[in-house]
Amino acid sequence: MKVGDLLAKAGGFVSANICSPVSGTVAKIGDWTDAWGAPGQAIFIDVKGDDWAKTIDRSEELKTECTLEPKEIIDRISAAGIVGLGGACFPTHVKLLPPPGKKAEVLIINGVECEPYLTCDHQLMLEHGEEIVVGIRILMRALNVDRAIIGIENNKKDAIQHMMELTKDMEGITVQPLKLKYPQGGEKQLIDACIHRQVPSGALPIEVGAVVDNVATVYAVYEAVQKNKPLVSRVMTVTGKNLAHPGNYLVRFGTPIDEVIALAGGVPECTGKIIGGGPMMGRAMDHTEGMPANKRLSGLLFLPEEESVRPEEDPCIRCGKCVDACPMGLEPYLLSKLFAYEKWDELEKHDVMDCIDCGCCVFTCPSHRRLLDNIRPAKAKVGGILRERAAAAKAAAEKK
């Protein structure tokens, strides 16, 4: 097994390949529990040397020319196992194949950084802006669109300047500075901010003619298509108040995160919580020993003890701040209450499935109410009911 060799083939339609990030031999495929306590399966590799597949171009040279047909581009992206690196991990090649009857009109590039504290996308734009621009043109070619918008929040002035410089002679590509506002990195929010179209409830961005990709994903596309290099690493922000060397680290998948932490200066004293991802949507880790980096892990955040404990809940004072804060226009206090009363119909009517888990309601609640602790299971339950209903409807239709 060499670096870049296909390790696991995608099983379903919405699934992505895994290419080996290391060279060596597969020791076993076995059960495994991740840093958050979720059981799953993992491939264990005995690493030997660092031997790359011959087909991969590892030079630093910028290759701008791309004459491949859209289908060839999509095949390469699919083969490289590229997924959305913003955090959702949705397979990129699936996004590039709009369902029949739908046509992509505009490509939106997410350069807003999904969460506070994370700076990996910002850094990538500054260091690999040229490659990202080539990647954008490749994606435009694959989608057959003539317009692309790079959305960057205006707290990253240097990135806006840099990307504008790089794209000034390019037709169809514009850089759009955006107001600083969480959760603008959310797909639906970004589309609304860039082209003022709102994706309806339950629909995909293609409904309004948009395809959204993160800058890190675009960079991976460049490497896959131009350099034949599959997705074997990502940039990860390692940060925290008391961390010795916070920064962005290019990490190969499978690297034990303890090694990354050691590079950053080790776990600071008085750390109460280690979060995989950002402070709003990231997940708190139970342990770090033996845990590898993966496609999803956009950051490691160390919170001091005093910021780690959730304060006790006070009674809801019905201030309505959660309603004001919800970017989806939902009523979090109500959804949370409806869950407590197990009103699944009502929850569905109030669009609980539209909740994007951004955490704004909990962030803003003066009573420290843990609204999402209720809304998350409510979504799971209602989602299950909806799937059952869809399956029943399908079965009934087939009977006829």
């Binding site: 309806p200 006070d314 019905r318």
Partner: protein
């Protein structure tokens, strides 16, 4: 390393708290209270102390001995209720009447329903209206302050003088009870800066407005409720003027001015109607709530038997809040109805 703490996201918080909001409202009441002290002197200090102490005491006793729960005084909501109740009574009210009002406000208005967050009606107003109905004479005899200049000279404490409020004077003109009403009406500017008759905290529209703006700027409240109340009152008054519904000899502009600057309107619009617990959640709910209060208060002022109706208006609209909360905000991606 100690054991790591695991909890669901989000892991960050704005730092806002119930206590912070209550303290900010209390802070925003200070300009108006300062004017009250100038206007009523010792009366303002004593009434405030009694009211706050009685509210806090009542809540403490009820949580400790009746409900046998952890005391909830830390959130400062009882202090605020006490302050607002004091703001809503005449500064020379007998102490025992005020204590009854405070106990009723906290006991019946708030704790009966389960404490903070559960009460359907604004507790301070429940207390106030209870007193207004039980002790109508004492509750509507206001000491007057004798104007800004004398107040500065330190001659403002005039408990002996009692007089009708501007709204009562206008009403007597409107109903034709008193042909000399015009002469008794104080200057509009004086009404705006304050130091006229009225309940303890409602004398200065200017100071209340200042406090209200403070609340909006610190995002404790949104603009929806106060603006919709004030706009409705102004529009209603202007229409009354246009259709001859105002006392003869008064211009419409002045009439609108008096309606806005006097009585409990400013206090109610910024501090009472905006009470989180008893006002709607969504923006449109808040606007309808405010318009409703504005309409009811003007109906009472124009046709009712009381000269002022802010307390009643707010309490009535409090009752509609569960209904108004059914107005849902526009969900993301929802189409406007064609």
């Amino acid at each position: 390393m100690e054991k790591l703490i695991v909890a669901p996201a989000p892991h960050a918080h704005s730092g806002d708290s119930v206590r912070r909001n209550m303290l900010l409202v209390i802070a925003a009441l200070i300009p108006a209270y300062a004017v009250s002290i100038v206007a009523f002197g010792w009366g303002a200090l004593i009434e405030m102390a009694i009211s706050v102490a009685a509210c806090v005491g009542a809540e403490w006793l009820i949580t400790k001995y009746l409900l046998k729960q952890k005391p909830t005084l830390c959130d400062c909501s009882a202090v605020l209720t006490g302050m607002l109740l004091a703001f809503n009574v005449p500064s020379n009210l007998d102490w025992w009447i005020l204590v009854i009002g405070a106990v009723f406000a906290i006991g019946v208005g708030k704790m009966t329903f389960g404490g903070l967050g559960q009460n359907p009606f604004n507790p301070a107003l429940v207390g106030r209206v209870f007193l207004l109905i039980s002790f109508p004479a004492q509750m509507t005899t206001w000491p007057t302050a004798s104007g800004f200049n004398s107040a500065i000279m330190g001659q403002a404490i005039t408990d002996a003088n009692t007089g009708a409020t501007p709204l009562a004077i206008i009403k007597s003109g409107l109903k034709g009870y008193d042909p000399q009403w015009m002469d008794k009406l104080p200057d509009l500017w004086d009404s705006f800066v304050g130091l006229l008759g009225g309940s303890l905290g409602e004398v200065s529209a200017l100071a209340l407005l200042l406090g209200g703006l403070m609340l909006i700027c610190t995002r404790v409240i949104t603009w929806h409720i106060p603006v919709s109340i004030l706009a409705t009152v102004a529009l209603f008054a202007a229409l009354m003027g246009a259709f001859g519904g105002i006392p003869e000899g008064m211009c419409t502009c002045k009439y609108v001015g008096y309606e806005l600057c006097t009585g409990g309107l400013m206090l109610g619009a910024f501090f009472m109607a905006t009470d989180y617990v008893t006002s709607p959640m969504s923006a449109w709910g808040k606007i309808i709530f405010g318009v409703g209060i504005g309409l009811i208060v003007m109906v009472i002022r124009t046709w009712g038997s009381y000269p002022e109706g802010m307390s009643f208006a707010i309490l009535m609209m409090n009752a509609t809040v569960p209904l108004l909360n059914r107005i849902r905000p526009r969900h993301f991606g929802e189409k406007k109805k064609a």
